[in-house]
């Protein structure tokens, strides 16, 4: 797992959460920009999971770490699935929650990683 990459991922997820929040406040449904943003974040999460699993041996709390990894990868698709059915401002609301969660969970992953690295 690479600190700079995960740091960038946290930044991107927070940016996406902000975008989604602005969309919700402007009372717009979910658009292509948010979908693309979610796709980029999901791609980055998959890369992060790949990097982390390759060296998971050095993490002490391995079960928790893998749980968080799996969780982050599952969240964006779930947000798309659940947000797509809602063509109001609350669709982006769901995405804001999801993106913020991804940012927090990536932060926890970094903590767990650095505790032993």
């Amino acid at each position: 797992m690479i600190g700079a990459f995960s740091g960038g991922l946290i930044g991107a997820a927070l940016l996406l959460a902000l975008l989604a929040l602005i969309t919700a406040i402007r009372d717009r449904p979910m658009g292509v920009a948010l979908l693309a943003g979610l796709a980029v974040v999901e791609l980055a999460l998959l890369v992060q999971a790949g990097l982390a699993v390759a060296e998971v041996g050095q993490v002490r709390e391995r079960a928790t770490f893998i749980g968080y990894l799996a969780g982050t990868v599952v969240i964006p698709p779930a947000a798309v699935w659940w947000g797509r059915a809602e063509r109001t401002r609350w669709g982006p609301g769901v995405i804001a929650v999801a993106a913020f969660t991804v940012a927090v969970m990536t932060g926890r992953l970094l903590q767990l990683w650095n505790a032993t690295a």
């Binding site: 779930a78 609350w90 769901v94």
Partner: protein, 135 residues
């Protein structure tokens, strides 16, 4: 149709959908955490970890009930959740030694930004406020 029995679209659409998203996250986080705690170090604090598992179960029930628009189970689960946060939160402050290991509900959910305390209140407001116009 009986408004209390039917699956209610008004519960799960609009703001309700966001509520489901937040509860879904908590269900996922709480059950993963409880599973790890019970699987790896159950002997250290059986009570705390069983409480974690119970909290996770409540979150799962709430997520499913809200997502399916089942109002009555959702209200019941919200009440259980609120009671759990208040009881466990108070006990963890009064008798810290009984709760040496944190659960989701310790210190009124302070470890999770007090979301566990605020969430059931928002949930109840949402569920009960929407009851009037329909009935």
């Amino acid at each position: 149709m009986n408004p209390g029995e039917s699956a209610d679209r008004a519960v799960r659409s609009g703001p309700g959908r966001m509520l489901v998203a937040v509860y879904g996250v908590f269900a996922l986080a709480a059950s993963a955490r409880a599973a790890v705690q019970i699987a790896t170090k159950f002997d250290e604090a059986p009570l705390a970890y069983l409480l974690s598992a119970f909290a996770a179960a409540v979150y799962i029930v709430l997520t499913v009930a809200l997502a399916r628009g089942a109002r009555r189970p959702a209200v019941a689960a919200c009440v259980v959740e609120l009671a759990g946060v208040l009881i466990v939160g108070t006990l963890s402050l009064v008798d810290a030694r009984a709760f040496p290991h944190a659960t989701v509900w310790s210190g009124y959910g302070g470890g999770y930004g007090f979301v566990p305390l605020v969430l059931p209140v928002i949930g109840l407001v949402w569920l009960l406020r929407r009851r009037r116009p329909g009935s």
